[in-house]
């Protein structure tokens, strides 16, 4: 198994050239923050990820979390790593200073999170879920609850979980049955939740569950769901964990991947009811969850990037070392010299760089919205966040399937053997297109809520921006080839959008039946757009004899590969979309 190294150069280049990190910080009034600081932070994060988290990845896979008398026991070594993680202050990165956070930009948090996800995907889920739970409390809980729970969640001393899914309520949360009954200053929660990531462990003195449940008077459906804080341990008067709450992990799922991330069946109220505290207003639980959703979905998209990067690094290391074949002069050939292996590595690399660019760009939109001078600007950036979110989640995680597949493929037979570690990335990646809304859900979200609902205003504004860029690119002779490819794909994107707005949207089945191809088309188009933008910056730097020439040239070549070998997929996707849904639904259900 190769060692993980943070792709520091590529990340900092994307932050600087694509995101415009310095200007972003300036607009946001963050005087103390700039690219130089971001680089120092990323370097240290990269070191921590490579030296502390990455070595635990394979053992976590082999010796996953187990359930015993005391609850869930995480893989040996994880508790120490988590302790060091908290001591280093990493959980605090983007949270407000008021609760002990460092108030750094969201996009820097995204760049740093990539490190944890690459180094150890299973591990990274724990801080990720904690961040989600913390955000929910931060945005929606009363000041009193915030004061009690936030400081230790921001610091990471206590972890957090999100309890949404029930055996009968997955994608359809309207079916939630967990009950909350008022009792004095709190509620008693009863019910069962499944698929609770890091629902229990021994790494911290407390775990804070955020639980969706129904009040006795709740209306039926999604409008009757409330959100509760249900801690593992109730707090004493000093605010320290004391009495064990009636919330337990009763079983662990046996999974295809991410073995070190305990996926719990949580049972609340087996002994009379788990004490919970209402977050915000009654019946607003689902609305609160939706405000969290963009962040959570983008974070899972980022996991697609993280696992892909790890798989790529491993494939490169193997391809360099694996000697197969002999030249005429008797010297030996490493498989990296074979064109097809090169194709696979280029495909992985070009995809990853595009994915990273898009993830960072999308994440920065949230910072821009926050820093916006007026409401109109803020709305524009928020619209972009909304639009990018399903693409980042859907496209990046779908791409990660192909990339980790190629990672195994580069290894040949050894890839199928667990010991090399490549198979683990392939298995670990598999969950990413499923949780936090499947690819199908993402695509429906994109087509329905983000395009049809606003008659295509948001998507057309994005396509116009890509159009402007493509024209500008065309004026640079060095970039003519890229510009030509990009403008072709842009036209496909426009056609697909027109069809959706004019024809597809008018029929019952069409949007749902072709939504995934539509989302993938937009993914490739956006990927090419960010790749070309980075290539343009790189080319300008080369012309000015600035920077690291080999690295910059590689950026241009990678963008070219993306445009020549991946972007053409948009043409096939367009054709699929235009063919519509007839053959998708033609077969009666009884035929299946």
């Amino acid at each position: 198994m190769s060692e993980y190294q943070h792709p520091y150069k590529d990340v900092t280049f994307a932050l600087r050239e694509l995101v415009g990190f310095d200007q972003l910080c300036e607009q946001a009034g963050l005087d103390e923050v700039n690219g130089e600081l971001a680089e120092a932070i990323l370097e240290e994060a990269g070191k921590f990820g490579a030296e502390v988290l990455a070595p635990l990845n394979q053992i976590g896979d082999r010796e996953g979390a187990t359930l015993g008398e005391q609850g869930v026991q995480e893989t040996a070594g994880f508790a120490e790593a988590y302790q060091a993680f908290v001591e280093s202050g990493w959980p605090t990165l983007t949270f407000p200073g008021q609760f002990g956070g460092q108030a750094l930009p969201n996009v820097l948090g995204t760049a740093v999170n990539e490190v944890w996800q690459s180094a150890n995907l299973s591990y990274s889920l724990c801080p990720l879920l904690t961040q989600g739970a913390t955000e929910a409390i931060l945005h929606h809980a009363s000041d009193e609850l915030k004061a009690i729970w936030l400081p230790k969640m921001v610091s990471g001393e206590w972890t957090g979980t999100m309890n949404l899914t029930e055996p009968g309520a997955g994608s359809d949360l309207a079916a939630i049955t967990t009950r909350a009954v008022p009792e004095g200053d709190h509620y008693l929660i009863t019910g069962q939740k499944i698929f609770i990531t890091w629902g229990d462990h021994q790494m911290t003195p407390n775990t804070v569950h955020l639980v969706l449940a129904r009040l006795p008077d709740a209306p039926a459906g999604v409008k009757g769901i409330s959100l509760f804080i249900v801690p593992k341990f109730l707090l004493d008067e000093q605010g320290e964990p004391s009495v064990r709450n009636d919330a337990h992990c009763v079983s662990l799922e046996h999974k295809l991947g991410i073995h070190a991330s305990p996926t719990c069946v949580m049972s609340f109220g087996d002994n009379g009811g788990a004490v919970g505290y209402l977050v915000g207003e009654p019946h607003q639980g689902l609305a609160y969850m939706f405000t969290m959703m963009n962040h959570a979905r983008q974070a899972v998209g980022l996991q697609g990037l993280g696992i892909s990067e790890r798989s790529y690094q491993q494939a490169v290391a193997y391809a360099r070392e694996r000697i197969q074949g002999t030249r005429r002069d008797g010297s030996k050939i490493a498989i990296i010299e074979f064109p097809d292996v090169r194709r696979m590595l280029m495909q992985m690399r070009a995809s990853i760089e595009a994915m990273r660019g898009l993830a960072l760009l999308a994440s920065a939109e949230a910072d821009r919205a926050k820093a916006a001078g007026d409401e109109a600007q803020a709305r524009q950036h928020n619209e972009r966040v909304e639009l990018f979110t399903p693409i980042v989640k859907g496209w990046l995680t779908e791409m990660s399937q192909e990339i980790t597949y190629l990672g195994v493929q580069v290894h040949g037979g050894m890839g199928f053997i667990e010991e090399t570690g490549s198979a683990q990335h392939y298995r670990d990646a598999r969950i990413l297109t499923i949780y936090e809304g499947t690819t199908g859900i993402q695509a429906l979200d994109l087509v329905g809520r983000k395009i049809l609902r606003n008659q295509g205003v948001a998507i057309n504004s994005l396509l116009d921006e890509i159009d402007d860029f493509t024209r500008q690119l065309a004026s640079d002779p060095e970039m003519a080839l890229l510009s030509e490819r990009l403008s072709k794909a842009l036209e496909y994107g426009r056609q697909a959008t027109r069809w959706l707005l004019e024809t597809g949207g008018q029929t019952d089945w069409a949007p749902g039946a072709v939504s995934v191809p539509f989302m993938m088309l937009m993914g490739y188009l956006c990927g090419a757009w960010v790749s070309c933008r980075m290539a343009q910056s790189a080319s300008a730097q080369i012309a000015a004899s600035e920077g690291d020439i080999e690295f910059l040239q590689a950026k241009v070549i990678t963008a070219r590969f993306f445009c020549e070998h991946l972007l053409p997929r948009t043409s096939g996707l367009l054709e699929t979309i235009l063919n519509g849904s007839e053959s998708v639904i033609a077969l009666p259900e009884s035929q299946f």
Binding site: M1, E321, R322, M414, E419, T420
Partner: protein
């Protein structure tokens, strides 16, 4: 040209690395004077006088030099150095300690750990942990050099008849003192720190047979390792595993016994300086990376090897 070479010793015997440094000195050319600085180290100077190629031995015998304190030794060598074109020493921890001090006192640079002599002023030395070899030229009037002993043959220890000249002056800085020392007993070293590793694979047959490896390891002061196949078969515990998922090692000598050479194993030991493979299967991939291969039955080879080392 004339060379002052500072002998490495323990006040009783000459350290053989000194003999390698003599060879380096003779490649530079010129008279070689050996300085033996120590306390009650007459025996060492007698031994030094016999080394072939040495023309003179200087004996500085005083309590101040008993523990090779760099502060004292460097003052002495600095005083002597002006008569020489080169000052050499074998690059053990003693010379690494005092030689740069000598160089600084002379206001000259030092060429550290040379592995080849190109000419009287030009040398090769490893940089970047041996990942590159630099050729460097010293522009100083007096060239201060430490010598990597393993890169030079040992000079013949007998046959010379150099004169021994006792030195009367005693240099003592008075800023440092020896407190004590703790020398390592000859227990078996850690895998990752060992200079030599003897590893067994599935070919060992069972755990008891690892005793055969241990006998060889004891002779070489080596650590004992194992392949994953041997660990999986339950022959030995998994803390002995060398390979991708075990320990990554890079000793000077790695002896693989009954190991076929799966990629995962090779990944853990291929940076070893010298690799020996002993296997009865001539086609075993381990032979592709081995510097020395012996196609034979390990149960015959190991006792013989233990005996002949």
């Amino acid at each position: 040209m004339s060379i002052l070479l500072i002998a490495e010793h323990n006040n009783q015997t000459l350290n053989p690395t000194t003999l390698s440094a003599v060879t380096a000195a003779s490649q530079i050319g010129g008279d070689i004077t050996l300085l033996v600085a120590g306390s009650n180290c007459q025996a060492v100077s007698d031994e030094a006088a016999k080394v072939a190629g040495v023309s003179k031995v200087l004996l500085a015998d005083a309590p101040a030099y008993a523990h090779s304190l760099a502060e004292n030794l460097s003052l002495l060598v600095k005083e002597l150095a002006s008569d020489y074109s080169h000052v050499l020493a074998p690059a053990g921890t003693t010379a690494k300690d005092f030689m740069p001090r000598v160089a600084a006192l002379l206001d000259v640079g030092q060429v550290s750990e040379i592995i080849a002599v190109e000419s009287a002023d030009t040398f090769k030395r490893p940089i970047y942990a041996g990942n590159a070899i630099a050729t460097v030229r010293s522009a100083d009037a007096i060239k201060v050099i430490t010598v990597r002993a393993s890169a030079f043959d040992k000079a013949v220890a007998e046959g010379g008849s150099a004169s021994i000249e006792p030195l009367s002056q005693v240099c003592e800085a008075g800023t440092s003192a020896f407190v004590g020392e703790e020398m390592v007993k000859s227990e078996r070293p850690e895998l990752t720190a060992a200079r030599v590793i003897v590893s067994g694979g599935r070919g060992m047959g069972n755990g008891d047979n690892f005793a055969l490896l241990e006998k060889v390891a004891d002779k070489l002061g080596a650590a004992v390792g194992a392949s994953r196949a041997a660990v999986d078969a339950g022959f030995v515990s998994n803390d002995m595993q060398v390979g991708q998922t075990g320990k990554i090692v890079a000793p000077e000598l790695y002896i693989a016994v009954g190991i076929s050479g799966a990629i995962q194993h090779l990944a853990g030991m291929k940076e070893s300086k010298v690799i020996v493979a002993i296997n009865k299967d001539e086609e075993a991939p381990i032979f592709q990376v081995a510097d020395y291969g012996l196609v034979a039955d390990l149960f015959q080879v190991l006792p013989e090897l233990a005996e002949k080392l």
